[in-house]
């Protein structure tokens, strides 16, 4: 079996597990919802202000919920030592990462899109005219978060204090995702709805650099 067919099988397994338990999506969605509501108490969410601060708050909420969502990614494999079984099953260990990061990207995007509409209603921001462009920004940002997050989840699952460790490692690393995603979202929500390719370029660079690094060095993280 090649890398892609392995990945497809594992991705199906991840999605099926989530489909049966609904654990990740429910907790992450409710968490972001709480954050968005709490944000509204810290400043006056009028229309003009929310266009200025909204995208930043939204992406911060995504980032925090991602660090929650990514936590169990490798942890759940440790409970019954299923990671060893996975390693034996696949020909290329990168397939394990690839499947997990694809699943995480999908979960992230689903939660982000759900919350985007809540955000649009709460803060009176029109998102429908730029919806496809927003999906592109969300995809590139989520791919970056999922790539680094999946790798760091493999790291933190092996350490003490793993719940605290993952956000600590992940947040500073994600500065180059947070800034371009926020700025690109902000530009899309402004009056002229501009799609800023310069910011998307940074996001693409981030995704490519870390996917390559994971592909080169990821298998060492799965060694016993």
């Amino acid at each position: 079996m090649g890398l892609l067919s392995n990945t497809a099988v594992l991705l199906q397994k991840e999605i099926q597990a989530e489909y049966r338990s609904h654990e990740l999506l429910t907790t992450a969605t409710v968490f972001i919802l709480i954050v968005i509501v709490l944000f509204s108490f810290t400043f006056d969410p009028t229309s003009a202000e929310s266009r200025q601060f909204g995208p930043g708050l939204l992406w911060l909420a995504f980032l925090f919920s991602a660090s929650l969502m990514l936590q169990p990614c490798f942890l759940k494999e440790r409970a019954n030592d299923t990671l060893s079984a996975l390693r034996l099953a696949v020909s290329d260990p990168f397939a394990i990462f690839l499947a997990k990061l694809c699943a995480n990207t999908i979960f992230l995007i689903v939660t982000e899109l759900l919350l985007l509409f809540v955000f649009a209603v709460f803060y009176n921001v029109g998102v429908l005219p730029v919806f496809p462009q927003l999906v592109l920004v969300f995809f590139l940002g989520s791919l970056g978060i999922a790539t680094t997050g999946t790798a760091l989840s493999a790291i933190s699952s092996q350490a003490r204090m793993r719940e605290v460790l993952l956000p600590l490692l992940l947040m500073p690393l994600l500065v180059p995702v947070l800034i371009p995603s926020t700025e690109a979202t902000k530009a899309l929500l402004e009056k002229d709805h501009a799609l800023r390719w310069d910011w998307l370029g940074i996001l693409i660079a981030f995704d490519v650099v870390f996917l390559t690094a994971l592909w080169l060095f990821g298998e060492y993280l799965l060694e016993e």
């Binding site: 680094t148 790798a151 760091l152 790291i155 092996q158 350490a159 003490r160 204090m161 793993r162 460790l165 600590l168 490692l169 500073p172 690393l173 500065v175 180059p176 800034i179 371009p180 700025e183 310069d198 910011w199 940074i202 660079a205 981030f206 650099v209 870390f210 690094a213 060095f217 060492y220 993280l221 060694e223």
Partner: protein, 223 residues
């Protein structure tokens, strides 16, 4: 032991000369005045910390490829020394910024990026304290070390791009550096680099002794 002593003495002497040169030999800058002299500490520290992080990256990659513990020691030693120099940069920056810009912290691109860099490597050190098994710790932290270093250009790029969208304080007008200033600066740079090499070496030897101690303890337990 004697060799280390001689080397330490030489580095101290060099630093003394560099400090003297920075205070008494270099001419006083026309617009910024005396406070500009902090650059002779600030800028070399910044360059040295980047060099130390580069060495740490090389150590991390080499550890993953060869699995020799010495590369892990190189990675952790230089990361720690890099953080020390980076801390100097972050402390001396605001000392200069207050009289020059009127604020301690300006969220200027380079400043912010350096702070993120510092946070990344502090996270690297915290990660190491969370793992007991030495081989595992070496492998995992090498991996994070690579990620952190790859992140640096992206952090600089995105923050630079982000901040340059906003009005910026004017730091330097373009122009050639005074030759005396340039010579003093090079001397300070040399002394900072020598200090870095000395500190990394000392820290590396500490790690070596720790490993030796661990091996002896294991041997004792086995008996």
């Amino acid at each position: 032991m004697i060799k280390t002593g001689v080397y330490t003495f030489l580095v101290c002497a060099l630093m003394g000369v560099a400090a003297y040169a920075a205070f008494y030999v270099a001419p006083t800058e026309a617009t910024m005045g005396l406070v500009q002299r902090i650059f002779y500490l600030h800028v070399p520290s910044g360059m040295t910390s980047l060099l130390a992080f580069l060495i740490s990256f090389v150590g991390s990659v080499s550890y993953i490829l060869t699995r020799k513990p010495k590369w892990d020691w190189v990675a952790v030693s230089s990361a720690e020394v890099g953080i020390a120099f980076c801390t100097v940069v972050l402390l001396t920056g605001p000392i200069w910024a207050k009289p020059a810009w009127g604020v301690w912290w300006a969220w200027d691109a380079r400043l912010t990026a350096t702070l993120v860099l510092w946070l990344l490597y502090v996270a690297f050190l915290i990660l190491r304290t969370m793992m007991e098994d030495t081989d595992r710790r070496a492998l995992v932290s090498a991996f994070f070390g690579i990620f952190a270093f790859l992140d640096v250009p992206l952090v600089y790029g995105s923050i630079w791009w982000w901040r340059t969208q906003h009005p910026q304080p004017v730091i330097f007008s373009s122009g050639a550096l005074d030759p005396t200033m340039r010579r003093v600066f090079n001397l300070c740079w040399l002394s900072a680099t020598c200090l870095m090499a000395l500190l990394i070496r000392q820290r590396y030897e500490l790690e070596e002794s720790r490993e030796e101690l661990r091996a002896l303890e294991q041997e004792l337990e086995a008996r």
